[in-house]
Amino acid sequence: MSRRSFTITAVLMVLVPLLTAIAGRGALAQDATPGASPMASPGASPMASPAALEPDPSISGTIDVGMVGNPQMVALQGLLPEFNRLYPNVTVNMTVLPENEIRQTITQDITNQSGQFDVVTIGPFEVPLWAEQGWLEEVGEEAAADPNYAFDDIFPSMLAGLTYEEGVYALPFYGESGMTFYRKDLFEAAGLEMPERPTWDQIAEFGAALHDPDNGVYGVCLRGLPGWGEQAAIVTTMINAFGGRWYDEDFNAQLEDEDSAAAIRFYVDTLRQYGPPGVEQNGFTETETLFVQGRCAQWYDATSAAELITSPQENPEYADQVGFAFSPSKKLPTGNWLWSWNFAMASNSDAKDAGTAFMKWATSRNYIQTVVAEEGGWGRAPTGSRASVYQDPSYLAIASGFADIVIDSINEANPNEPTEEPVPYTGGQFVRIPEFTSLGNDASQEWAAALVGDQSVDDAISAANELANQVAIDAGYQE
C-alpha cells in the first residue's frame, strides 16, 4: 500500500509541474486571439517603404487557414499577434501539416466543397484547375486596387501560374525556380570552374571528376524519391531542357521520343554513376541534408534552397563554400521550373472579407518587413515572389551570391510554354492536368526502379510512356 502511494506521489510530482508548464505555455499561445497583446509595430525597416498599416476593426469573422508546414509558414503563424493588432475582430484558426498531408486535406476539403477551410496554401498546379471548377474566389482585383499592396511588385511569371481567364485566383507567398548549387572548395581543389550557365553535359563531366565515394563525396545529387512533386519535378524540367515533352498536341505520350528519352536516360545514368547511394530515397530535404553534410559536389534543385544552405545555422561547415549557377541547359536554356506557395480562398467561405484581409496581409511588403524585423534576419522571410525584395540592401547583404541568378531564373522561366515543341498543357515541373498527381507518382516509380537497377532504363521509359498514354485515353484527352 505504502509503496503504491509512494509511486502515485512520485508520478504526481512529475506530472503536476509538467502540466502546469504546458498550461502556462497554452495560456501564452492563447494570447494570439484577438485583442491580446499587441506587438511592437515593425520599426525601422530597410525596405523601400510601404505605408504602415492602420488597425481596421470594421472587418470581423473567424477564418480557418490550412497551411503547408514550411519554415516561412511557421514564422507566419508566430506573427499572428501582429495580424490581430491590425484586425482585432478577426480570429484565425491555423492548421499546419506537412506537404503531403496538407495537400490531401485541402484537396478533400475544396474538391468536396466541405467548407472546413476559408484560406489555403496551394501551388500553381492547382490554382487554374480549381478556379475553372469555380472552387476558388477571384482575389487579384481587390489586391490590385490597393496601392499599398503594390500588386505590380509581384513577379509577372508567378502571377501567370495563378491566372484563369483574366482573373487572379491566389496571391503568391513565396516562390522559386530551379538552379545549380556546387561546392567551390571541391571545384577549386580539382582545378575545375563552374560556368554561370552550365550545360547538363558539363554537370556530368564535373560529376565524373569530383565523384569520390570512398571519401563520401558524390558527384551529382538530385532528388530520386518517387512523387510528382519530388523526383518527377526534377525529371520534368530535365525533359523540358533536353527538348522533350510529356505529350504532343494530340495528347499522345512522348516520353519515348528521342529527346524525352535522352533526358530520362541521362537522369538515371548520371545518378547511377555519380549519385549518392540510396538516391531513390532522397527528396528535397534528404538531398539538402546530404549537401549540408558535405556529401554533394553539385546539386540541382529549387532556388529556395539557397537561403537554407548559405545560413551558418543550417549549414555550419560549408555555408561559405556554396557556389551558385543557373539551371543546366541542353536544347533549351532552362527547364522552366517555376513554383510558388500561394494563399487562395475557397469560394464557399463564409468570411470572405476576413479571408481577403489575411491573404493580403500575409503576402504584403509590410509582412516581409515585419518578419525580418521580428526575426532579426531573412531566414524565414518569404522571397521569390516580389521584385522589391531583390532591391533591398539588407537582403542583398546575405543573398548577393545568388540573388541575381534567382531573379533571372524566375523571370526567364515560362511555364506557359515550357517545351521546345508545342504541348497541349502548361506547367514547368509538372503537367497541368488533374491526373498528373497520380501519373507523376506512377511514372517516377518506374524511373526509381531503374535507379535501383530493378529494370532497365529503356523499360522504365516505355512503362512511363504507357502510363502517360493510358491516362490521356482514360481522361478522354486523346481521340
Binding site: 497554452g26 499561445a29 486535406t105 476539403d109 468536396n112 529556395s304 543550417e314
Partner: protein, 294 residues
C-alpha cells in the same frame, strides 16, 4: 529459476546427479534467454532512446554523420516546439482518448459478458462480425466516411472523433474482455447465483474485481490506439480538433532540417502514454498475461 533444483525430493545418487545436471542446463538456458531478451528489448527500445537523445540536439547535430551519442545537449527544440500552441492539441487528444475509451468500456463490458458467460445463438458469428469491422484498411473506408461526416456535420468536431475512436476500439475491447470473462471459473458464478446475486451485483462485486487487470489492460490499449491514431484524425479532424499526432507532424517540412524538432515533439507526444503505462504497469503485466492476448 533456481527453485526447480531444490524443491524436488532427492532419493538416489544417480537421479540426484541427473536432476542437478538438468538444473544446470536449465540455468544456462535461462541465462541465455535473459541475454537474448535483453538484446531484443534494447534493440526495440533503441529507436525510442535515439528519439529522446535527438530531441536534445541542434538540427545540424541531429543529421550529422556518423551520429553522435555524446553531444552538447540543448533545450532549443523543446522551446521551439512548446512556443506553438501545444495545449489545444493535448486537450483534444485527451478528451478524444478518454471519452471514447469510457464509451468503449461501457459498451464492451456487457457485450463481452454476454458473449462469454451467456452466449446467445450463433455467438461465434457475432464475435466474427465484430472483428470483421476491422478487416478493411482505414484508407479503404476514408472516402465514404468523409462524405458521411460532411453530411452529418461531424468534420473537424470532437463528437466525430469520439464516435470514430469508439467504433474503432470497440471490437478489440470486446474480444479482449471476452477472453478475460471466460477465465472466470464457472463455480464462482454458480455460487453467486445460488446466493441470489443479480446480474448487476454479480458484475460489480464479483466479476469486475476478478478481471480488474484485464479491464486495466483493455482501457490502456484503447487509450493508446486512440491517442496514437493519425490517419482518421488528419483526414477528418485536422481543421478544428487536431490531436497530438497532428501537432507532432507539423514540424515535418519539405524545406529545411526538422529531425530534432520532430524528435522533441514526438517525445512530448509519447510522454503521457509512457507515464500512464508506468503507473499502471503492475495491472498491465497481469492483464496482458491472462486471457487471449498472451
Amino acid at each position: 529459476m533456481a527453485v526447480a533444483t531444490t524443491a524436488r525430493p532427492v532419493v538416489r545418487q544417480p537421479a540426484r546427479f541427473a536432476i542437478r545436471r538438468r538444473g544446470a542446463n536449465k540455468e544456462q538456458a535461462s541465462a541465455l534467454w535473459t541475454v537474448v531478451a535483453w538484446g531484443v528489448g534494447l534493440l526495440a527500445f533503441f529507436p525510442v532512446l535515439y528519439m529522446f537523445l535527438t530531441a536534445f540536439k541542434t538540427e545540424t547535430a541531429a543529421v550529422s554523420l556518423p551520429p553522435r551519442l555524446i553531444f552538447q545537449p540543448t533545450l532549443e527544440q523543446f522551446r521551439t516546439v512548446l512556443s506553438g500552441d501545444f495545449l489545444p492539441f493535448f486537450r483534444n487528444s485527451a478528451i478524444a482518448s478518454l471519452v471514447s475509451t469510457a464509451l468503449v468500456m461501457l459498451l464492451a463490458v456487457p457485450a463481452a459478458y454476454a458473449l462469454a458467460l451467456r452466449p446467445p445463438k450463433k455467438w461465434k458469428d457475432i464475435l466474427f462480425f465484430f472483428i470483421s469491422t476491422r478487416f478493411m484498411p482505414a484508407a479503404g473506408v476514408i472516402v465514404p466516411l468523409y462524405i458521411i461526416f460532411r453530411e452529418a456535420g461531424l468534420l473537424g468536431t470532437m463528437r466525430g472523433l469520439i464516435i470514430l475512436y469508439t467504433a474503432m476500439n470497440l471490437p478489440i475491447a470486446i474480444w479482449m474482455l471476452r477472453s478475460f470473462f471466460e477465465e472466470v471459473p464457472k463455480d464462482v458464478l454458480d455460487a453467486a447465483e445460488v446466493d441470489g446475486a443479480n446480474v448487476m451485483r454479480l458484475m460489480t462485486e464479483i466479476l469486475l474485481p476478478m478481471i480488474a487487470p484485464g479491464i486495466a489492460a483493455t482501457i490502456f490499449i484503447s487509450i493508446i490506439f486512440a491517442w496514437n491514431e493519425f490517419f482518421f484524425a488528419v483526414s477528418l479532424a485536422a481543421a478544428g480538433t487536431a490531436t497530438v499526432p497532428i501537432f507532432m507532424v507539423k514540424f515535418v517540412t519539405s524545406e529545411g532540417l526538422f529531425w530534432a524538432k520532430l524528435a522533441a515533439s514526438s517525445t512530448l507526444a509519447v510522454l503521457p502514454i509512457v507515464l500512464l503505462g508506468w503507473v499502471a504497469q503492475r495491472q498491465l503485466v497481469r492483464g496482458l498475461s491472462m486471457g487471449a492476448v498472451k
